[in-house]
Amino acid sequence: MTLLSFKLSTFSLKRSLLMLLALNINSAFAEDWTWHGFVSQGLIQAKESNFVNNDGDVSARLTEIGVNSVYKIDNDLKLSGQLMYLNGGNRFVDGARIDYLFLNWTPHNSLDWQFDLYLGRFKNMHWAYSSTRDVAITRPLIVLPQSVYFDSFRDIAVGSDGLALRSTHNLSIGELEFIWSWGATPVSLDMSRRVTSTDVSGETDQKFVHQASAYWRPSDSQMQWGVSLLDSDFSYEKSAVDRYFNGDFTVQRVMLNWRYSAENWELTSEIMQERVNVQGFIFPQLVRNQFAQGAFLLGRYDWSELTSWYLSYDYFIANKDNPSGSQLPVTSGGFIPSYFGYQRDAAISVDHQLAENFRLKLEYHWIEGTGRLGPNVVPDVVVNGQRIHNIWAVQLLYWF
């Protein structure tokens, strides 16, 4: 997507949101209009890594603010939008954005089959936490497992401009849900620098992202099983003065999802394999095809009605044929240490309900390896100079 079309797209979305707000004002207090929001602010420190900042100091760049509205045009047609402000330091692009803005048409809604179409900018609905990964109250952890929810890729993976559908069926074997989406995300230079290399100056374009997923919740069971697929192509067009070359990237992901829910505890796991194919970019003749793998297991235990504990273990390897990363120093001429080939993260977190709609969350991560620190294609070996690095964070959450 060109810069011009990106600007037009953004302008169009902004104009639509203003129309939505205007509609809302005119029908204030009407039953057809609902609005909600959230504010969360925290402190975070990631010493000896560039996860939040480059100096490793305690940072207040852990801010998530959003307000959303749904306007019911008819029983089968709704317009939904959310404005959001994010500040996550190096994790993703700072600032205000239209998080989603789409028309939701429901062509079929019977007691055993619900079918919805979404047109516009919608959230990624395919993974366990993808559709609300920026909304702190919906997240089990302040920092989600990076194997699956890689923050440097957040701005591209969080949603798409395009078309999506969801079909849910009540059958004798349980509930089946199918989700399909097709679209693309405008990639700004700032986003591109967090994903590929801090010194790129050319234009990155996501040509498409095609995703499909299926979830099965068996009858009389507290388990849920899911599978999701992703296929996406990108291109890079170098600028007039650029140390990089034109390039093409393909990212393909297969992921399995599982959850077990008991009265006072719950386990969630996602396991994925991701193919990343790079042609060009670093030098014109480069062809690199690599399969990354990752998985996490996350448990929640409700200590009381007000307090919940979370434990998580997340595992990522950048190249399944070289899980220790030992080939990285060899192939990079000593530039990239082996610990960029993996990342293992053990985390503990606790949240406590302070009052209705107010929650406090504390968290600590023990991390070995730097395989899930951005940028991904040309890593930052200067700031990320340690194999072992930790994160702590505390966050206050309010929602309405």
Binding site: S80, Q82, Y100, Q114, Y118, K123, S261, A262
Partner: protein, 131 residues
């Protein structure tokens, strides 16, 4: 009473009630779950479903969630939050107690809710939940 203390009303089994305008007389657990997960938003005649719930701290809500929806309240909360903050749906309307639930279901076309067995159901219909 502490803000989040569960009410000690020790209710009898929950019964599903709908507004007199609703033509449906029975639902399966799965169908009721679809309604309370806010995916099923229309009755078979095309009219909108208006869903009412009691607060999480209500013992009746806990019983209703477990027995009729076969879900724990936190699973419902998660579904509603996901709908709310992804724009794909709206959460149900929370009411303070059974008396208010009964009053609002009786007065709101297309409404569905739940009360204790044995309550006055004048101007209401009971929906039978089949396995």
């Amino acid at each position: 009473m502490p803000l989040f203390a569960r009410t000690q009303e020790t209710p009898s089994a929950p019964v599903v009630i709908v507004n007199a305008s609703v033509k449906v007389q029975q639902l399966s657990h799965a169908q009721l779950r679809s309604i309370y997960m806010m995916r099923q938003v229309l009755w078979p005649d095309g009219s909108a479903i208006k869903v009412f719930v009691l607060p999480n701290r209500s013992e009746l809500h806990l019983q209703f969630s477990r027995q009729q929806l076969q879900l724990f309240p936190y699973q419902l909360d998660r579904v509603w939050q996901k709908l709310t903050y992804s724009g794909t749906g709206t959460p149900p309307t929370e009411v303070a107690d059974s008396a208010k639930m009964r009053e609002l279901v009786a007065s709101t076309p297309g409404a569905i809710g739940y009360i204790e067995t044995g309550n006055d159901i004048t101007e209401l219909q009971i929906v039978h939940i089949q396995p």
